[in-house]
């Protein structure tokens, strides 16, 4: 019986401690909402920030870039997330670019095609071009590799090409970037698109793929970082005016080199040195 009473005492103390912590945390709370592309990255950053600053709680909710902009403007969120540049009508908000997202078109290494125009890429993904000889390559059927619904890479690719996902006639649908790279490397007639960071690394380490340039701009991490590569976009945290207090501390943290590994783990391109 003595033991049970002691357990009861410990449990009571724990509950009080938790309550005290919750009450404390409520005062140091940051709400971040917006783009589902950035949300996983922001959540990782938030986790690390919380660990380094005990007592602070950061709540990351996804719901699209438009929600991020709207929430930051209305004050529902301290920080919004937008996976695009701000439009002209949104100049009342301040963007803080934390990373770049770039998508590169990849072919099998043995494919003789050196570059494709936007029109050719569209025709291939619509299923109108079925053989590489139609664009000046070898007599080899095209295998179109598409991304599964909901992925930000797919969203960026659709936005760039102006295609709808239901228009695409794919022979293969893949999930993550590595699976896409392995699928293309295993099939001489394949074409796919993946995050540039992953593809560039694999290409340089002997995987049988090649990134092709778009509009004459080589698909490299450096060109994505500069914003020169056409199939890329900035990942922004947006605030109303200049951030202050906790929001400023988190924005500075997210832009610093201390989170580069987190940015790369999500296959984005970090900007800080």
């Amino acid at each position: 019986m003595h033991g049970i009473r002691q357990i009861g005492r410990i449990a009571t103390a724990t509950v009080f401690l938790l309550l005290a912590m919750a009450a404390h945390a409520a005062t140091d709370r940051l709400v971040i909402t917006g783009s589902s592309t950035i949300a996983p990255l922001a959540a990782e950053m938030a986790k690390r920030f919380e660990k380094q600053n005990p007592g602070i709680r950061i709540d990351v909710q996804s719901g699209g870039s438009s929600r991020g902009v709207a929430d930051a403007r209305s004050g529902l969120a301290d920080i919004g997330m937008a996976s695009r540049s701000l439009k002209d009508g949104e100049k009342d908000l301040t963007p803080h670019t934390i990373a770049m997202d770039g998508v590169g078109i990849i072919l099998h290494k043995s494919n003789s095609i050196g570059a494709l125009s936007d029109e050719q890429i569209k025709a291939i993904y619509r299923g109108q071009i079925k053989n590489w000889k139609e664009v000046g390559g070898k007599d080899l059927p095209v295998t179109v590799v598409n991304k599964a619904e909901g992925r930000s890479t797919l969203e960026l690719f659709l936005h760039y090409t102006g295609l709808k996902n239901s228009e695409i006639r794919a022979q293969m649908v893949i999930g993550d970037n590595e699976q896409g790279i392995k699928s293309v490397a295993a099939n001489p007639g394949a074409i796919g698109y993946v995050s540039i960071g992953t593809a560039e690394y694999d290409e340089n380490h002997g995987t049988l793929i090649k990134l092709i340039p778009l509009h004459g701009v080589a698909a490299t991490v450096a060109n994505v970082k500069d914003g020169k590569f056409p199939l890329s976009r900035p990942l922004n945290l947006v605030t109303r005016g200049v951030p202050a207090g906790l929001a400023k501390r988190f924005v500075d943290f997210a832009k610093s080199g201390a989170v580069n590994d987190l940015v790369q783990a999500q296959f984005f391109v970090p900007l800080a040195h």
Binding site: E149, Q171, M172, V173, N187
Partner: protein
């Protein structure tokens, strides 16, 4: 005899708690199944309750972000892949079980059993990796794109073969020796003994194993996701890429929200019901076998 007494009459206080304790634990295990079903239903409810109540079976395609939730092609693909794998694995597994029980010298049988058991223990993702890097390019060289229903069937057959072989082997081993001795006494050939006596007697256990293997094939995710191509369409032939229900969930769940998410839960519900149906059939089959 004290053990057969109801435990609440027992002299020991621990025994008094044993029966209710065991009951609670058992009820918990049963309750989990119920909770899973309730959870799936609740999460899928937004879709099931909306206009798409039947649409999620009949829509033209699976484009959840464009409001189309046609799941029937994936149901068909799941069934086709599992059935194809069973057609390959069941005969092979049963034949190897017969070999194990009737023909193999003890040393070989022991080694063989060990190899099959090891095969059963290989993680599915390893099969998938092998399929992606060896099998799919091999098929692609013959008939691109390579990632296809055929690749899925071959990988699944490899994965469920040990299940079929081991369950069939133990079903055959459980055939009463008196039956076999009787067959021998009647002067039956070994072929006659196996085909006319042992296999019919072990039928329930074998069917049970085949159905369980089928359930495993239906539920397998990672390996199929890596080799099947994952294009949502009715399989027109063995070389067409297909997407199975499990792969659909694994591919899209991490990035789904709203109706899209509900759609994925609906496909999970469909899959659970299919597997439960198979399990129920398996239980019935094994009961039938015991009473024969």
């Amino acid at each position: 005899m004290i053990w057969s007494r109801p435990s609440f009459l027992s002299r020991w206080p621990t025994d008094r708690w044993l029966a209710p304790g065991l009951g609670v634990a058992a009820a918990g295990a049963g309750l989990i199944l119920l909770l899973v079903l309730v959870f799936l239903l609740r999460e899928a409810a937004p879709l099931l309750g909306s206009h798409a109540a039947i649409g999620f079976l009949l829509d033209a395609g699976w484009y959840p972000l464009e409001g189309q939730f046609g799941m029937l092609p994936m149901v068909v693909a799941s069934l086709a892949a599992a059935l194809g794998a069973l057609l390959l694995a069941a005969p092979l597994g049963i034949v190897s079980a017969i070999f194990l029980n009737f023909s193999a010298p003890p040393g070989v049988a022991h080694l063989y059993r060990m190899i099959v058991a090891l095969l059963a223990g290989i993680p599915s993702v390893v099969f998938g990796l092998w399929g992606l890097t060896v099998l799919v390019p091999l098929i692609a060289r013959w008939q691109p794109p390579g990632a296809s229903l055929l690749a899925a069937i071959l990988i699944l057959a490899l994965m469920i073969l040990p299940t079929v072989a081991l369950t069939s082997a133990s079903a055959l081993a459980a055939v009463p020796k008196s039956l076999l001795h009787g067959a021998a006494a009647l002067g039956l050939t070994q072929q006659g003994t196996i085909l006319r006596v042992a296999l019919p007697a072990a039928r329930g256990g074998i069917i049970n194993g085949v159905l369980l293997a089928g359930a495993r094939a239906l539920g397998e995710t990672m390996a199929v996701l890596m080799v099947a191509g994952n294009v949502v369409q009715y399989p027109g032939g063995l070389l067409d890429p297909v997407r199975v229900l499990t792969a659909n969930i694994a591919l899209e769940m991490a990035y789904a929200s709203g109706a899209h998410r509900a759609g994925l839960f609906a496909s999970g519900l469909l899959l659970t019901l299919a597997v439960m149906l198979l399990a129920w059939l398996a239980i019935r089959a094994s009961h039938g076998g015991r009473h024969d």
